[in-house]
């Protein structure tokens, strides 16, 4: 009795294993295998990239394996090695390529293409899909210039030590420089250790104190949302929110969206299309699987200017 039960269990187990093997082998012949590897799946942005990628991959009938190493960057290298060993057809990563170069080199040797999703460009990647920081900065800077009629004194919040933010500042400089009647009052680099809101607020308070006349500040251009939020607090607390000072930020984080929705001084920000980045990455993988080479080292996905008129429509 007991023996037969054990035998049954063993037979059942063996059956399951054979079934699993058959299943995975059957799929392997039918579908392309793509591994998506990231240490950052717990972060909202990455979740949207992966969601977008998965949706597109399902349509294409690919077998996708999403691997989250829970913050462990060295484990990304290990999982890259495993995926190469497993002979996947393509790999997608969302992590700094320089830090996982050891794994990317293994993929290159095996001839397996790797696509980055907002990873930073790198010669070891077939391409990197992301938002265009230059274009985003141009859009908010032009918005400011147009809103103030090409004339007035503008405060800029920048952060040149961090390359993705530095390029935003460069573009805004160029656009404001093209309007002879726009004058830059100050180009402030806030201390970001506390997240950037508190110190930006303190800096803005000092600038408001130094420029007490109504209309002496026409606009605040911030390279990301936190300084814009700090400037907003400073302007409201100084009782100068009725002067029509135009504030713009970038990235459209939830706090910024709330501020924009109230219709106050914080008028605009830029939203990245995270789902779209995932979709586009899948499109790139599809082209690579067909044997195409992608000429662009970076592929940009359009971004959206967020104002009070469309903020409610964004999810």
């Amino acid at each position: 009795m007991r023996i037969s039960k054990t035998l049954k269990t063993i037979a059942g187990l063996a059956g399951t294993m054979v079934l699993a093997t058959g299943l995975s082998m059957g799929l392997a012949q039918a579908a392309s295998k793509v591994a998506v590897i990231t240490p950052y799946l717990a972060q909202p942005g990455t979740q949207f990239y992966v969601e977008g990628f998965k949706a597109a991959a399902e349509k294409n009938g690919w077998e996708t394996n999403i691997v989250d190493t829970a913050g462990d960057v060295a484990a990304v290298i290990s999982r890259l090695e495993d995926a190469v060993n497993q002979k996947v057809d393509a790999i997608v990563i969302n992590v700094d390529p320089q830090q996982v170069a050891a794994g990317l080199e293994v993929a290159r040797e095996a001839g397996i293409p790797v696509v980055g999703m907002d990873s930073g460009s790198d010669p070891l990647l077939a391409t990197n899909v992301t938002s265009n920081g230059y274009a985003m900065a141009a859009e908010t800077a032009v918005y400011v210039a147009n809103r103030i009629g090409g004339k007035g004194r503008v405060v800029m919040f920048v952060f040149d030590a961090f390359p993705p933010v530095q390029i935003r500042g460069v573009v805004a400089d160029a656009i404001f420089g093209n309007f002879p009647d726009i004058k830059i009052v100050d180009r402030v680099t806030p201390d970001v250790q506390d997240g950037g809101i508190a110190d930006s607020r303190a800096k803005m308070e000092a600038i408001l104190a130094a420029n007490p006349d109504k209309g002496s500040i026409a606009a605040v251009w911030a390279a990301w949302d936190q300084p814009a939020l700090g400037a907003l607090q400073a302007i409201e607390d100084a009782g100068r929110s009725d002067e029509g000072i135009v504030i713009v930020g970038m990235d459209a984080n939830p706090q910024a969206r709330d501020a924009i929705a109230t219709g106050g001084n914080f008028e605009a920000s830029m939203a990245q299309d995270f789902i779209g980045i995932g979709n586009k990455a899948a499109e790139m993988v599809g082209r690579l699987l067909k044997g195409e080479t992608i000429r662009e080292p970076v592929v940009y996905v359009p971004t959206t200017l967020v104002t009070s008129s469309n903020v409610a429509d964004l999810d």
């Binding site: 699993a20 989250d68 829970a70 913050g71 060993n85 830090q99 050891a102 250790q193």
Partner: protein, 320 residues
């Protein structure tokens, strides 16, 4: 029968896991190349777990190894970024590990704080120190010398039959060297035997004239030293240093030692058994990734296997 199962259950489990993957991944799992991959993937965890065995032999713990690994990477990278040679950065990081380990030993053996509490405190301290030194930033790129990051990518080339070339990674070799050293110290020296004596019965060991305080300090220092080596290996592999990158090593290292402990009759940690524990964790990660198993399911499985192993070894005790 039950005692056999108790003794060899974990080993049989490990062999079953290997057989399962071999069966399901006939082309890619049981290859020299994949096993070299696995050996490299587990090398950092292995070094931390091997040296963790020192304190666990005495029935102690060190929860601070993960933070120490991060701190060691940051220490080396900071010195590199200021233009110091690789040797200086590595030496400073290792010294940091020994010092931190001695500090743990001081808290536990001189002040008499429970190891769990003492090393929980130093876990936070070392982590804070790593954040403070690095300003919370990742140090990478040009700041990390090629000779340092190259170590993790290099290896000893072996030619088989003149054609098939395999590369034994330096990281794997280093882990083997640490394994040999820990085995020698624990199993072949009176120092090691005394550590086991302390673990067996602290009071009896003390009354028998074992210098328990000094030995405990030394054991913690060795664990700290191992954590620093593990941290440097990690930093070399990712060619960067980040103040949190070692934090995952601690729980895995303790899990590996526990898995190993299920294989000894007295439930004592043995470093060769720790190796089996590390291999189980590494093979599961490798095989399940190759089988495209969801990474969260993987975590559930790993936890379940640890519990099964520990349970199967304690079932026997309960019946007796």
């Amino acid at each position: 029968m039950i005692s056999l199962f108790k003794r060899y259950g974990t080993l049989v489990g490990f062999i079953a896991i290997v057989a399962f993957f071999w069966f399901n991944l006939p082309d890619t799992f049981m290859t020299a190349r994949n096993w070299l991959n696995i050996s490299q993937q587990i090398s950092m965890l292995a070094v931390v777990a091997f040296t963790m065995t020192f304190v666990m032999v005495m029935g102690d713990f060190d929860l601070s190894v993960g933070s120490m690994a991060s701190l060691s990477g940051i220490t080396a990278a900071l010195l590199f970024s200021q233009g110091y040679p690789v040797a200086a950065g590595v030496a400073a990081a290792l010294a940091m590990g020994i010092l931190g380990g001695f500090f743990n030993g001081f808290l536990v053996s001189i002040l008499g704080i429970l190891p769990f509490v003492a090393t929980l405190g130093t876990l936070t301290m070392f982590s804070g120190l790593a954040f403070w030194l690095s300003d919370g930033k990742t140090i990478f790129g040009r700041d990390i010398p090629k000779t340092f990051s190259g170590f993790a990518r290099g290896g000893v080339d072996i030619e088989l039959a003149g054609t098939l070339a395999l590369k034994i990674p330096y990281l794997s070799i280093l882990a083997l060297v640490v394994l040999a050293a820990v085995w020698l110290v624990l199993e072949q020296t009176s120092f090691g035997r005394r550590l086991y004596a302390i673990g067996g019965n602290y009071e009896a060991a003390r009354l028998a004239g074992v210098k328990v305080r000094r030995l405990r300090m030394a054991a913690f220092a060795l664990t700290g030293f191992g954590a620093a080596i593990g941290g440097l290996m990690y930093a070399s592999r990712v060619a960067s240093a980040n103040p949190t990158q070692g934090s995952g090593l601690m729980l895995d290292a303790i899990a590996a030692v526990f898995l190993g402990m299920t294989m000894s009759e007295e439930g004592e940690p043995r470093v060769l058994a720790t190796l089996v524990g590390v291999l189980i964790l590494g093979v599961l990660d490798n095989g399940l990734t190759q089988m495209s198993v969801d990474s969260y399911i993987r975590e559930i499985l790993v936890g379940a296997i640890i519990l099964t192993a520990v349970a199967s070894s304690s079932v026997g005790k309960f019946r007796r």
